[in-house]
Amino acid sequence: MIRPGRRLLLLAGGALALTVLLLAADVLPPQAALALWTVLAVLALADLALVPGARALDVALDAPAEVFAGEDVRLRVRVGARRGPVPPVAGARAEADDALGGLTRFALAPVAPDRADGAVTLHAGRRGLFRVAAVWLRWPSPLALWEVVARLPTDLALRVVPNIRPVVSGTIDAQVRSELYGVKDTVSRGEGSEFHQLVEFTTGMDTRAIDWKHSARHRALVAKEMRAERNHQIILALDNGYLMRGEVAGLARIDHAINAALAMTWAAGLGGDLVGLYSFDAEPRRYIPPQPGRAAFPALRSQLAEMGYSSVESNHTLALAHLNARLKRRSLIVIFSDFADTTTAELLVENLQVLNRAHVIVFVTLRDPELETRQDAMPDSADAVAEAVVAADMARERQLVLDRLARLGILCLETAPNTLTARLLSTYLEIKARELI
């Protein structure tokens, strides 16, 4: 579409001022004003005839197949002219869904007379399938009296998936392998409850370890050497209630939780453990039984990528009771959840207490940086002081709940989003090292 340019508006405004001046001052005949408008109209019409239209252009976008949630994606934009040169583009915008940042500006530079390239950076703020519907271009006419605004449809779909950057970058492999090697060989042998091998009994060994039947058969004292179990069950329980939709550091809490859960799955695969998934909100949702970590990872990844955002309040009683009934073996349960205050956390604490009798519980929640910022900010008004007091009260209430959980023997992990994955893996490795499961 074509619209008047700023220059034409300025000229028209100037012509109007001159017209009023001419009529008021009466220094020239009124026909001078008429001539002024006629010249402006002729110039505008001539310029309009020379401006290239939007039909001569096409646009192409290069995009990756998948984008990790919370990361930026850079799309390459190529604009080509079907005939003639590409007009000098004065402005370019990508029309993306709100989850990708909405309308985003970018720059185009000519690389050839009939081609201009550029790149637009979009931020993937949510999981899901989102569209970059069109590219908007704007270029002026030769005299800059008009502007052509063109909407070039692209219909590009971007799939935003959970962020597994720590997995694909090898960070987790490096951390877990280095931790497990050196711990497994020295700690697990002889200290676990799983039979490893028969060894010759030597002085200093516990006599209770002697296997009398095999000793009789071999006619020499042999003892059982035990080791720590390797195929522990790990259940990743994700609370998908409305509290987990709240954004922290530009991403929903549930997305941070999903990213950490997938990193944990990968780490558990390296540690030889079985990983299962359980999600809930007002009622139990997905349950994937524990399976070897390497095999579980793709399954969990696809399941978690499809998990939507819920707007209902979580029912911890129903969800944790359901999980307790499903688990027949002592497991490590990592619960990603959140609570608003001590009152609403009451049921959560009670149910975790029940679950903690048979399993090892790690309760993971994200610290809200806003509460910290408000408490430490220098207030410039009485209202800001009041807000800081409220923020401190809310932080104190959270701490009360976490302290109560800690007293029950539940491992609590309240951390900032950027350190969530690292601290969760450290906790997992510590649990393995201490053989809590």
Binding site: A12, W136, V149, P379, A382, V385, A392
Partner: protein, 420 residues
């Protein structure tokens, strides 16, 4: 539509109706309901308008001399020197004749500025309320003559011959008067009879240096009662038209003058004045303005991209809103000193946590001061003093002073944490 919304709409309509009614009554210049009663002149106005005479009620607005041929002042006040005070007994009240107050000064000034016909009162309020005219409801003669006395036109009392009096207004028109009220034959100097009937005069004219003043002794000649029951309409119309000299007639029932002695003639604007704005060559400026407006609208119509959402109502905003709401409730409690003290206490805990790893002591200020005193006793002393001052500001300390105290504490805390 919900019940609440319906009630709200009904309330708005009711207020609008009341406002319109009040405005309408004010705009009509107090002619309701007296003017529609037996003693009013509403019928005369309608009648004369039906005969294409120019007659109107006075309302808010300036009347220039020369723009009105005759001002008719129907006096319904029996004491021009005092405001009417309502008697306690209803009977006494009904027997009073003051329907609307009129000041002596205003009456004389009105008569001086425009040719005026002063109509004397005759009946008590009971006539208007009952709808019946009876000799027992006549005003005392002295009360009825109050307006005439204002012009010193009455050396003798009004005549009340009683019965029915037929009069001839000239031009072949005549009428009847029930219980007539007449000026005595002897008139004051400068006054002359204009219309006589029976033993006295119905209408006299007085010239006292200013404009002429006509005095009508019996209002039944022109009021609704006389027009309807006595058939005085033609006589009244003919009489007024003659006095007004064919000019516009103004019925003035107000206690305001509305007249400027030397007001310039108001020129009425017409379509021709407006058309001059669009005549050549002014039309060029209008064309230019139109063209510029069209270009501006055109440019604003073609957007460079879709409209953007200014406020994204995301769940993440809930916590901020919750904090702001709770903070507002705390502020509304009106105990700012206690609020600031709580904040300083929280800040002390956080400083303690940053210094020692975890908070634990009952008196964080003392613990911090003790720790700092090992390296900088002056700083420790200043910190303790600033903390104490910020935590115990005293009741009623204004927020500005509290902020100053808090600022002093924060400066000390900053030095404790990061060194001076």
């Amino acid at each position: 539509m919900s019940a609440g919304r319906g009630a709200e709409l009904a309330a708005i309509v009711a207020v609008a109706v009341v406002a319109l009614s009040v405005g309408w009554m004010v705009a009509r210049g107090g002619q309701v309901p007296v003017e529609r009663s037996a003693v009013g002149l509403r019928g005369l106005v309608s009648w004369m308008r039906g005969q294409d005479a120019e007659i109107r009620y006075a309302s808010f607005g300036t009347v220039a001399p020369g723009s009105v041929g005759l001002r008719v002042i129907p006096v319904l006040d029996t004491d021009l020197d005092a405001e009417f005070s309502r008697p306690e007994a209803r009977r006494d009240w009904l027997m009073t004749g003051t329907e609307r107050d009129l000041s002596r000064g205003v009456l004389i000034r009105k008569a001086a500025l425009l040719p005026s016909l002063v109509v004397l009162p005759k009946w008590t309020r009971a006539v208007r309320h009952t709808g019946y005219a009876h000799e027992s409801l006549l005003l005392p003669g002295a009360d009825a003559a109050a307006a005439a006395r204002a012009f010193d036109a009455l050396p003798a009392p009004l005549l009340r011959p009683g019965g029915v009096l037929r009069f001839d207004a000239g031009g072949g028109y005549g009428g009847l008067l029930y219980e007539p009220q007449l000026f005595a034959p002897r008139l004051a100097a400068g006054c002359a009879p204009e219309l006589s009937a029976g033993p006295g005069h119905l209408l006299i004219r007085c010239d006292r240096g200013g404009g002429p003043v006509w005095l009508l002794s019996d209002p039944d000649l022109i009021n609704n009662h006389g027009l309807r029951l006595a058939g005085n309409a033609d006589a009244a119309a003919q009489l007024l038209t003659r006095i007004a000299g064919g000019g516009p007639i103004l019925i003035d029932t107000t206690n305001h003058i509305f007249t400027l002695a030397d007001a310039p003639a108001v020129r009425r604007r017409g379509w021709a004045d407006l058309a001059r704005f669009f005549a050549w060559p002014h039309v060029l400026a209008w064309f230019g303005l139109g063209a510029l407006t069209a270009l501006l609208l055109w440019r604003s119509w073609v957007r460079f991209g879709p409209a953007q959402v200014l406020y994204d109502d995301r769940p993440g905003a809930a916590r901020s809103v919750s904090i702001a709401a709770k903070a507002r409730i705390l502020r509304m409690a009106g105990n700012d000193p206690r609020l600031f003290a709580a904040h300083v206490e929280n800040r002390l805990r956080r400083v303690e946590r940053r210094l020692f790893g975890q908070a634990g002591s009952a008196e964080p200020a003392a613990r911090i001061a003790e720790f700092v005193a090992r390296t900088d006793p002056e700083l420790a002393k200043g910190f303790k003093h600033a903390a104490a001052a910020a935590m115990t500001p005293g009741t009623g300390t204004p927020p500005a002073q509290l902020l100053t105290l808090l600022d002093g504490f924060e400066q000390q805390a900053e030095r404790v944490l990061n060194g001076s």
